[in-house]
């Protein structure tokens, strides 16, 4: 397992269910992290900084050899879309659980992916089919296709380094920032430019391909609820996706995968305009953060299928063997302050209460106590809800989100309870502007007067008890608390 956090735990869970022994790597700061405690074997690979550890191909491959791994799962992020890593693992005689380096190169570099899609007859947004050489070329391109345009790193996905440029005046700053972030995130400054498709929904299609040329699509996910071009909420079926559109999107995704000689799990991302027309954005050559919503409606275990594909097995079903039942939604619980522009926050988890019950699945990397390093992605856990229909899935997700408590760092939970009660979202009528147009944090939720009073009283009780010696574990705690109130 060449990753950390919730995805490392999620992959190892399937391994244990299949009786596969697990080994993981960890950075110094992660020595006591949940994924280390859950693994069968664990090996240190360096300092907290990703370059020193989770992005360090040499050390990770060395560990995989030493531990005698049959296969390496990259998770998402880090090296999951690094073709050199895929090659290095394969060169070490170890199965890479993902597409081979060649397919990753064909799709990983965004302009090459655009060319490949266009050639296989899948629509792409007007823009550059080669990386931009400099700001000047960016300027001329923008004038040709017309503002607003989108600047994107050619080297990687996940929305990092993406910038909307609405007018010529913004280009210089955007170019500088995107180049910088592209270098930080992907080690490559190269950018490309596309005409901005707007308004639009972000809809993606999950595909599976085995090593024998069989390719199927499992369904779509609407991921339009984003901040900084990064997803916060994903659901399936997409509220704006008709059966006909779903079939067209599925067919397009399969075309791209086939053209790239793709193998294993992948996701084709599209932008869908209000009129139902769509353009191909990019192919994510890895397991997506949001894969569980597809698992809940199909009943499949995508990680188990990834492992079988990596082992050379054929897909156990064809396109017509796939059934989708009900609706599912995923909430990304991140260490970000939704009242402060979703700024990521490091810190220390002091207390956690996770929800469960009917229709709820938690894929969590949380524990208490636990350090939340600023070096890595702020995703803490995923709350996923299934229901026979969208209304039930949403009601369950909202109920569960409001049960969850995370103390120590701010999280995206308040945003999620807001969205799940917000009219437009509940009605399904939203697009990628949703956060900008709907999340105007009041800073103060409107809660019952009595609840505010309860909070105040408890707060004061806490201040008062802070002046007492700590209750001995022996003493019944309710009693002691009551006594305290009677002082």
């Amino acid at each position: 397992m060449a990753n950390r956090g919730e995805i490392a735990l999620r992959v190892m869970r399937t391994c244990r269910e299949l009786g596969i022994a697990t080994a993981t790597v960890y950075s110094d700061i992660d020595r006591a992290a949940p994924h280390v405690r859950a693994a069968g074997e664990a090996y240190p690979i360096g300092a907290a900084s990703p370059r020193e550890s989770y992005l360090n191909i040499e050390r990770i491959v060395a560990v995989a050899k030493r531990a005698g791994c049959d296969a390496v799962h990259p998770g998402y992020g880090f090296l999951s879309e690094n073709a050199d890593f895929a090659d290095a693992v394969a060169a070490a005689g170890i199965a890479f659980v993902g597409p081979p380096g060649a397919a990753q190169r064909a799709l990983g570099e965004k302009t090459s992916a655009r060319r490949l899609a266009a050639l296989s007859g899948v629509p792409v947004a007007e823009g550059t089919m080669q990386p931009l050489t400099d700001e000047a070329e960016a300027r001329t391109t923008a004038e040709r296709i017309g503002y607003p345009v989108l600047l994107k790193p050619a080297g990687g996905g996940g929305g990092k380094g993406m910038r909307v440029v609405r007018a010529a005046g913004e280009l210089a700053a955007a170019w500088r920032a995107s180049t910088g972030e592209a270098t930080t995130a992907f080690g490559a400054p190269a950018l490309l430019m596309e005409r901005l498709v707007h308004p639009a929904r972000h809809v993606e299609v999950q595909v599976l391909a085995d090593q024998h040329g069989n390719v199927v699509w499992l369904g779509e996910r609407d991921c339009s609820i984003q901040r900084r071009h990064q997803k916060l909420i994903e659901e399936t079926p997409g509220p704006g996706v008709s059966d006909a559109l779903r079939e067209r999107l599925g067919a397009a995704a399969v075309k791209v995968a086939t053209a790239a000689a793709y193998v294993n799990a992948g996701t084709a991302e599209f932008l869908v305009a209000p009129d139902g027309t769509f353009v191909f954005l990019e192919m994510n050559t890895r397991l997506q953060v949001e894969h569980p919503v597809t698992e809940l409606v199909t009943g499949l275990d995508l990680v188990a299928l990834q492992l079988r594909i990596a082992a050379g097995e054929r897909l156990p079903f064809g396109q017509d063997g796939i059934r989708r039942t009900g609706a599912a939604i995923e909430l990304r619980i991140t260490a970000e302050d939704p009242f402060a522009g979703f700024l990521p926050q490091g810190g220390r988890i002091e207390f956690v209460r996770e929800p469960s019950g009917p229709g709820i699945r938690m894929d969590s990397g949380l524990a208490a106590p636990m350090a939340v390093p600023t070096e890595y992605d702020p995703l803490l856990a995923k709350l996923i809800a299934w229901g026979p229909d969208r209304a039930t899935a949403l009601a369950r997700a909202r109920r569960a989100a409001r049960e969850m408590i995370v103390a120590g760092v701010p999280t995206s939970l308040p945003f999620h309870s807001f969205v799940l009660g917000e009219r437009d979202f509940v009605a399904g009528g939203y697009d990628t502007d949703y956060v900008a147009t709907h999340w105007d944090p009041p800073g103060v939720p409107l809660i019952a007067e009595s609840a505010a009073i309860a909070a105040a009283l408890a707060g004061i009780a806490r201040l008062r008890s802070a002046r007492r010696p700590v209750t001995s574990p022996a003493t019944p705690w309710t009693a002691s608390a009551r006594l305290d109130m009677r002082r």
Binding site: K160, G180, E181, T184, A185, R228, A340, G341, L343, P344, Q345, G346, G347, E350, F351, T374, E375, D377, P378, A401, R402, E403, I405, V406, A407, G408, V409, P410, G443, V444, P445, L446, I447, A448, S450, A451, A452, I453, A454, A455, A456, L457, A458, G459, I460, A461, R462, L463, R464, S465, A466, R467, V470, W477, T478, S480, A481, R482, D484, R487
Partner: protein, 173 residues
């Protein structure tokens, strides 16, 4: 807290800002609560020591958790809970009250101060970008919450800063 400690067992008076509500709460030496001078029959139990409380008021059940700093969780909602004693309120030190007079721009997390977009003495409008902080592989622009004048630039470009470090001070006009 000291003042509370000093108060010993005399009746304690607090001014609470819970979310957008201001409440005056008095705790009698017997531990009874008066809210805005009305007696409130509140049954409080510490469910998770120092963290989660169960509060029942006339049959209405509430669960309260303290998350960090002044953030509290009540029945699924987050709110800011500011507690001060009467004098503090009088002195206008109750949290939030003075936010419009003086803004402190602090680093929300450890990171690298990539760029400072303003100079001392410059006047800024609400929403103006003040600094760019690089952290968690992203560049985050910190903006002014109110119009004002840049009173102080506490950190130079290119400095690595800790979470909470003071970066910029804005004084309102």
């Amino acid at each position: 807290m000291d003042r509370l400690g000093a108060a010993g067992h005399a009746a304690l008076r607090y001014a609470i800002r819970a979310g957008d509500r201001d409440l005056a709460i008095e705790v009698t030496p017997e531990g009874r609560f008066l809210v805005d001078d009305r007696v409130v029959a509140a049954d409080l139990v510490e469910a998770v020591p120092g963290r989660v409380w169960s509060v029942v008021i006339d049959g209405e059940a509430h669960e309260v958790a303290f998350l960090a700093g002044d953030r509290a969780w009540v029945d699924g909602d987050e709110l800011r809970l500011e507690i001060a004693d009467e004098r503090a309120v009088a002195a206008g030190r109750a949290g939030g009250r003075t936010a419009s007079a003086r803004q402190e721009i602090r680093a929300p997390m450890p990171g690298l101060l990539k760029r400072v977009h303003v100079t001392e003495g410059a006047s800024v409008n609400e929403g103006d970008a003040l600094v760019t902080l690089e952290a968690m592989k992203m560049e985050n622009e910190l903006r002014a919450a109110h119009a004002g004048t840049v009173a102080q630039i506490a950190v130079a470009e290119g400095t690595k800063v800790d979470g909470g470090a003071l970066l910029i001070v804005i004084r309102s006009r």
